[in-house]
Amino acid sequence: MAYKISDLKTDYQSDWCPGCGDFGILNAIMSALVDLQLDLNKVVLVSGIGCSGKTPHYINTSGIHTLHGRDIPFASGIKLANPELTVIVTGGDGNTYGIGAGHFLNAGRRNIDITCLVFNNGVYGLTKGQASPTLKLGMKTKSLPLPNINEAINPLVVAISCGYTFVARSYAYDVKHLKEIIKQAILHKGLSLVDILQPCPSYNDIHTKEYFEEVVNNSKRIYKLEETGYDGEVKDPNNNEEIQQKLLQAIAKSQEWGEKIPIGVFYKINLPTLTDRLKERYKKDINPSKDNIEQNGKPTTDISKLIEEIEVKRYIRG
């Protein structure tokens, strides 16, 4: 029997602030799961630390709430150890682009089939609103004593240039759009980033619902790429020219920020995941979690060949 959203709720009490964008994201994740009807025993949510990091506790699948900035490495280990699992990461922008930036960047090199959802609210929420790496220079949210002294980074460009094979942006209060993007990201075989614009009413009074949904030049500031005919998907992953064109298009598009802010899929390409590459290297399917390492308490691995390599051979004088 199909499960519904209500089946997905845990009895763990949510403690996000009223009006927090995180509620929209939580809904979108649960709706995506309901649409996909994945086996809940095989879905793992992995989070970092922050308000965002609490997400897994609210959803009735396994949830691994890890360390600040380390969610991607944990998730990578889980997926490599058992490729049958669907692994979804929920991290904050401070978590992923700040302290976790080294992992965020290098994860691209592996293209492991996991989905990274980044709750981008421009602040370190749970530590009371310090500037995160996506808050631009000179901005003064209500939580800051003085205007932000650092420039922002553009996570979409970093992801695209480091090997992410699905790069998208969505918006926490457009649950329908977000749900569809999350579904695509989960279904995509490879490493996905969904950067989610997430209003934090408690600390960020700049990137508010009102800001994102404001009508500028007759239309909402936030607009959907798919409604403009933009197509970020590389159709032929062997066509280097197409790759270059789509890549530059995606980078150019992701520079757009101000009067208009695009959401949707910026870039997508199908390339072998690390598990695929391991399969090639090992000449067989690799699922370490299925290896039987013992039988009745005795090791089953035959190491005689390895011992032979180091065995002392005696030679009788000939």
């Binding site: 025993n41 793992v44 280990g77 490599l80 150890a81 290098n106 190491i303 002392v312």
Partner: protein, 604 residues
């Protein structure tokens, strides 16, 4: 009278010039006639050019340590000669390039000037590789080894067998010319009767014990494979990465090896893999281990089995990256803020590394916690002939890991699965991701694994975790806690851990000619078997701590755990492992001198 089958041979040379493979060739050949070997690799943190050297101690009895004194110094360049000649014994042999103008006393040493260039030229001509003359300089190695074996009167056939086993794969095309050079060298030695002048000799023995000749990293890696480790992460670091690279080079065993972007990712990925039910580990050295402090606490509070192999090297910081030290004990005991259950254990040698590697995964899974396997550079990079590894007494124990059927039964009985169910022994039934639903968090949590700040839950859950430490002390077999060598009721007890075991055991017999001395090797460092150790040492006339670190960290730990102060300490921190002579003299001095610390300094 000739000294047969017992000596130390040393080769040296610039890094990258083939010193290691010469030493291996020599060792393998001696082993092939039934002898025991211990070899110690000593090298700079450098890729090419700096001085490296490799003493091989050969014996007809098991041998586990190096000696400071050199019986045969085999050199093919000047630096080695000038650095090491002081250590050559009287009547020792010195092999050197006859073209060097050296000032050595022919009355003190047996001098063997070798015509390296002539031999190489002759070989080059014979194989029509004159243009490769400078490349062929690498044959100085085989020439040195051949000269040594020839002087030692060992038939060249043994060497040729070894060369055949060494020059394989893409190197096999070099076999012929090397054999040729070896034969030329043999002829030269014989024709000059150097073998007659030698007081040392090699003689094939009847010994047919089943041995392997291997290093600490290799033994550990094979142990991991046998023990069912199927996920290994690492970030390159000396001397740990050899172990990971061994696993990488053997994909047929299905161990997924991931080279991560740093050591933080390495431990986090390994923990992730373990959550999915796979035996997982990461291997590193000091700097990397320092970066893993935070994640160890996460594994501790979430009761995740994971094994961290820390190959200690000279610290602090980058320290002496390729040199030896046992400096990380105190750090390993407490790494990471606050308190959580963990096991710290240390193998004493290459053989123990194999079995303890397997056991570490058993302990990690049985007690659901991080296990720190403290090896060191002296174990990692030495080679030794040890009893061939045997799995007949090895068990794989996965503890309270539930099968799918177990889980069903439990769910029927209890309704919901509680990952952190409060139990008497502190250990909860465990399932893997994919099997059923549970939560983990680095925050304090309730039995389900949800964040919980409630004060009583905190008191109870913290205690539940820490209780495992008592369970371990109660359940663990004594052989995993410590080992005692030598006479039972000795007057003097030497105490040590890790690689000091080798030189101590190699000295114990000799020491017992003078005093009644035994040796207590501590294996389990956390939880510490305080009561057992106390009862073992409390009646000793004198306790002598022997450690390769500045302050005597195990001695300090013993005082903390038992109250007993170890007033005599033999310490060394110059980056070079203890020699047998140092231990002998150190113990004699400790017994006789009114001096708390004996500081050893040998090694180049």
């Amino acid at each position: 009278m000739k000294k047969v089958n017992n000596f130390t041979w040393l080769i040296g040379g610039p890094q990258g010039s083939g010193v290691d493979s010469s030493a291996n060739t020599f060792a393998k050949t001696c082993a092939s006639i039934g002898l025991y070997i211990f070899g110690k690799r000593e090298y700079h943190s450098n890729i090419k050019g700096a001085h490296s050297y490799y003493p091989i101690t050969v014996s007809d009895k098991p041998v586990r340590s190096h000696t400071d004194s050199i019986d045969i110094l085999a050199t093919f360049e000047k630096e080695t000669l000038s650095l090491h000649k002081e250590n050559v014994v009287e009547n020792g042999i010195i092999i050197f390039d006859k073209d060097y103008n050296v000032d050595l006393n022919p009355n003190k040493y047996t001098l063997v000037p070798l015509p390296f260039n002539d031999i190489i030229k002759e070989a080059a001509v014979k194989f029509q590789r004159e243009k490769d003359y400078s490349k062929l300089q690498i044959m100085r190695n085989v020439i040195t080894v051949a000269a040594s074996l020839s002087i030692l009167n060992l038939d060249v056939e043994y060497l040729i067998k070894t060369l055949e086993s060494v020059f394989i794969g893409r190197r096999s095309k070099l076999l012929e010319i090397n054999i040729f050079a070896a034969n030329l060298t043999y002829e030269y030695i014989k024709s000059n009767s150097f073998n007659k002048k030698s007081i040392y000799e090699l003689r094939p023995t009847e010994n047919n014990e089943n041995l392997v000749l291997t290093s600490g990293t290799t033994a550990t890696a094979i142990g991991k494979i046998a023990g069912g480790c199927r996920f290994q992460t690492y970030y390159p670091i000396t001397p740990a990465s050899d172990e990971s690279e061994y696993l990488e080079a053997h994909p047929e065993y299905g161990v997924v090896v991931v080279q991560t972007e740093d050591e933080i990712a390495a431990i986090c990925m390994a923990i992730g893999a373990s959550l999915a039910g796979v035996r997982a580990s990461t291997s590193t050295s000091g700097p990397g281990f320092s970066l893993m402090a935070e994640a160890q606490g996460w594994a501790g509070i979430n009761e995740v089995p994971v094994v961290i192999f820390n190959y200690q090297r000279g610290g602090p910081s980058t320290g002496l990256p390729t040199r030896h030290e046992q400096g990380d004990l105190e750090f390993a005991l407490y790494a990471g803020h606050s308190e959580f259950p963990r096991i710290v254990l240390s193998p004493g040698d290459i053989e123990e590394s194999f079995y303890l590697a397997i056991e570490s995964f058993n302990l990690a899974e049985k007690y659901q916690l991080p296990v720190i396997f403290l090896s060191d550079k002296a174990i990692a990079n030495s080679i030794q002939t040890v009893k061939s590894f045997n799995l007949s007494n090895v068990k794989i124990e996965r503890g309270k890991m539930l099968s799918d059927q177990d889980l069903l039964t439990l769910l029927e009985k209890e309704g919901r699965y509680k990952r952190f169910k409060i139990t008497e022994d502190g250990i909860s039934p465990r399932i893997s991701l994919g099997q059923g639903i549970f939560w983990n968090t680095g925050d304090e949590h309730d039995e389900f694994g949800h964040i919980c700040e409630e004060s009583n839950n905190r008191t109870i859950m913290f205690d539940k975790r820490m209780r495992k430490m008592n369970t371990i002390i109660k359940e663990l077999d004594v052989s995993l806690k410590y080992r005692m060598y030598g006479p039972e009721n000795a007057d003097y007890t030497l105490i040590g851990w890790g690689s000091v075991k080798g030189p101590i055991l190699d000295t114990l017999e000799e020491l017992n000619k003078y005093y009644k001395v035994n040796f207590l090797q501590i294996i389990l460092l956390k939880p510490f078997p305080s009561e057992e150790i106390l009862s073992l040492i409390k009646n000793s006339k004198m306790l002598i701590g022997i450690e390769m670190n500045y302050s005597g960290q195990l001695c300090n730990l013993i005082r903390k755990e038992t109250g007993i102060k170890i007033n005599k300490r033999i310490l060394k921190w110059n980056g070079r492992s203890f020699s047998r002579e140092e231990i002998f003299k150190g113990v004699i001095d400790a017994i006789n001198l009114d001096q708390e610390k004996i500081i050893c300094k040998s090694g180049i």
